[in-house]
Amino acid sequence: MTFDVYLNVVVAGILTGLVYGLMALGLSVIFGVVRIVNFAHGEMMSIAMYLAVVLFSSFGLDPLVMLVPIAAVMFAFGYVLQAGLINPFITRPEHSQFLLVVALAIIIVNALLIVFGPDARTVQTSYAYDSFQLGPVLVDASKAYAGGAAIAFAAALFAFFRYSRVGTAIRACADNYTGALVIGLNVKRLYALTFALGMACVGAAGCMMTLIVDVTPIIGPAYTLLAFVIVITGGLGSMAGALFGGILIGLTEALAGLIFTPSAKSMFAFAILVLVLLFRPQGLLGQRLS
């Protein structure tokens, strides 16, 4: 019986971890190519979450159906942001870039607070309490859909970077900035496109998260930190690492919540971060730093 409880928690943790992984994938792609540390990542996801919540409460549109349109809106947001604000900063010192995004993060959190107020919002779908019975495991339907959608979205992104010409060009920018300029790639446009793709990940992940958690304006910073914990654990710049890190952290949080107390679960994620930073700073699946 106890074993069943653990199994259920493990499955739920992995499914949540897949959504975390998709969110972190956006961060990883942005860092890997643009070399900008997007410290407003969670805050930007909370924008997508509020979009999903408003569309659901006003028009009854299911977040999973709205996943693609919201990802598209966030894509456009990301493109404009990179092209307009962040591109001039790519040659500035690291702390300067960092503080720029911190400023954005502060503005987003508090603008959401002004517009939507401090109260938590929820999405009550018709399948909110459904579950699937798989042998001894009881899988929450919302989490199963969210996890499945995360896999599909991540696979599409993998395929884009692997097989499309634009994806290859973006990888060229990441490998060698000067080389990419020399062969005539429009690096700034590709950077904007990359940031936009990162935001599309965040948009999709945000929609899925609304099925799993309540939305408040102040959740942004926690998800930013979570995304960093995940990508550093998995390896900054590694796409597979982000997904792997997401699953690992989702699992850790779920088990810590079961064995200790849910309110202390992030402590274990931070403990993993500290250990990884000290003993394997390139991340579990990252390339060794030169």
Partner: protein
């Protein structure tokens, strides 16, 4: 503070700076006679921010180590002194003496782990956040400090200001934080012009080159973190006795760390006057905004923070060096050397 020490502090700088400093100090010393209670509280907030900004500036501005977890050191200072006061009846000044080594030790642990294992730049910043967040969640679960329910300092009505126990009216707190800010300024000035200050700036500009030139980079980075952390812990002690309540969720919040860096960033990272100027500009403008909104009967939680964010954004985009360096040039206060 006597004019002699002021002259030494203003040492190599131009005469105008000396006059400006003396004027500013005179105005600040006279403020309690001029200002009403509200304005005095605003001044306390400004000086608090100037103090923490200067402490943070030692690490980032002088030695080039970006910390985004300074709430940890202030929080440790606050909790150490508050626990000593509440549970053992030990006053805040002794508490401060106990808080400094605790905060400096926390800084030393983070510094040691980061610098030994080559965690630098943005990774270092994230490590500092991780430790502050770790402390926030940890203190939320420590029953001895009443966990998330918060720790409260007993409030007594006192006939006279009790400086030894920091129980009294805002005027007393004002002079305490003013003295601390002036002391921090003198300390920063002396550090910056000392041998170690030059080592720090060498590390900040190019760590590899500094090491090649024979600077013991590890040791001096450690010193920077420990001084900065120890100094910041005083802000925590002040916070505990001024506000009389401590919640891990507030004290260790990443928002506190961000607020500490806003002043120096806006004023000018690495400059002596930047953190002070930034504190006056930022808090002054924010309070004007508050007053204006109150006048129009608007109540918008978050508006002040949006304003902070926009200020930070504008300064980062338009004045990457901060407000002070161009202002100093305009006023003819800048020295020739950078």
């Amino acid at each position: 503070m006597s004019a002699i020490s002021l002259a030494r502090v203003a040492g190599g700088a131009s005469r105008r700076i000396f006059v400006l400093l003396a004027l500013l100090l005179a105005v600040l010393l006279a403020a309690p006679w001029i200002a009403n209670d509200y304005l005095l509280t605003v001044l306390i907030v400004i000086l608090y921010s100037a103090f923490t900004g200067q402490a943070w500036n030692i690490m980032m501005g002088f030695a080039g180590q970006l910390s985004l977890g300074h709430a940890l050191y202030a929080g440790l200072g606050a909790y150490v002194s508050a626990v000593l006061f509440v549970d053992f009846g030990i006053g805040p000044w002794i508490g401060f003496l106990a808080a400094v080594p605790v905060a400096a030790a926390a800084g030393a642990i983070i510094g040691f782990l980061a610098f030994r294992f080559g965690v630098a730049g943005v990774y270092f910043a994230i490590l500092t956040i991780a430790f502050a967040e770790f402390a926030r969640i940890g203190f939320d679960h420590i029953a001895a400090v009443d966990a998330s329910a918060g720790l409260f300092l007993p409030v007594r009505q006192v006939a006279h200001n009790d400086l030894w126990h920091l129980r009294g009216d805002p005027t007393m707190f004002y002079y305490v934080i003013l003295a601390a800010t002036v002391a921090a300024f003198i300390l920063c000035r002396l550090l910056l012009e000392s041998r170690i200050g030059y080592f720090w700036r060498a590390i900040r500009e190019d760590e590899e080159a500094a090491r090649a030139a024979g600077v013991a980079t590890f040791r001096y980075k450690m010193v920077a973190v420990m001084i900065s952390a120890g100094l910041t812990s005083f802000a925590g002690v002040f916070y505990a006795f001024f506000y009389n309540n401590l919640f891990p969720e507030q004290v260790f919040n990443i928002g506190r760390s961000i607020e500490m860096i806003l002043g120096p960033v806006i004023g000018g990272i690495g400059t002596l006057f930047g953190p002070i100027l930034g504190a006056f500009v930022l808090t002054g403008l924010a309070e004007s905004l508050n007053a204006a909104m109150a006048a129009f009967g608007l109540d918008m939680p978050g508006a002040k923070q949006v304003f902070y964010g926009v200020c930070l954004l504008v300064v980062i985009v338009a004045l990457p060096q901060g407000v002070w360096p161009p202002l100093a040039r305009r006023l003819g206060l800048a020295k020739d050397k950078p």
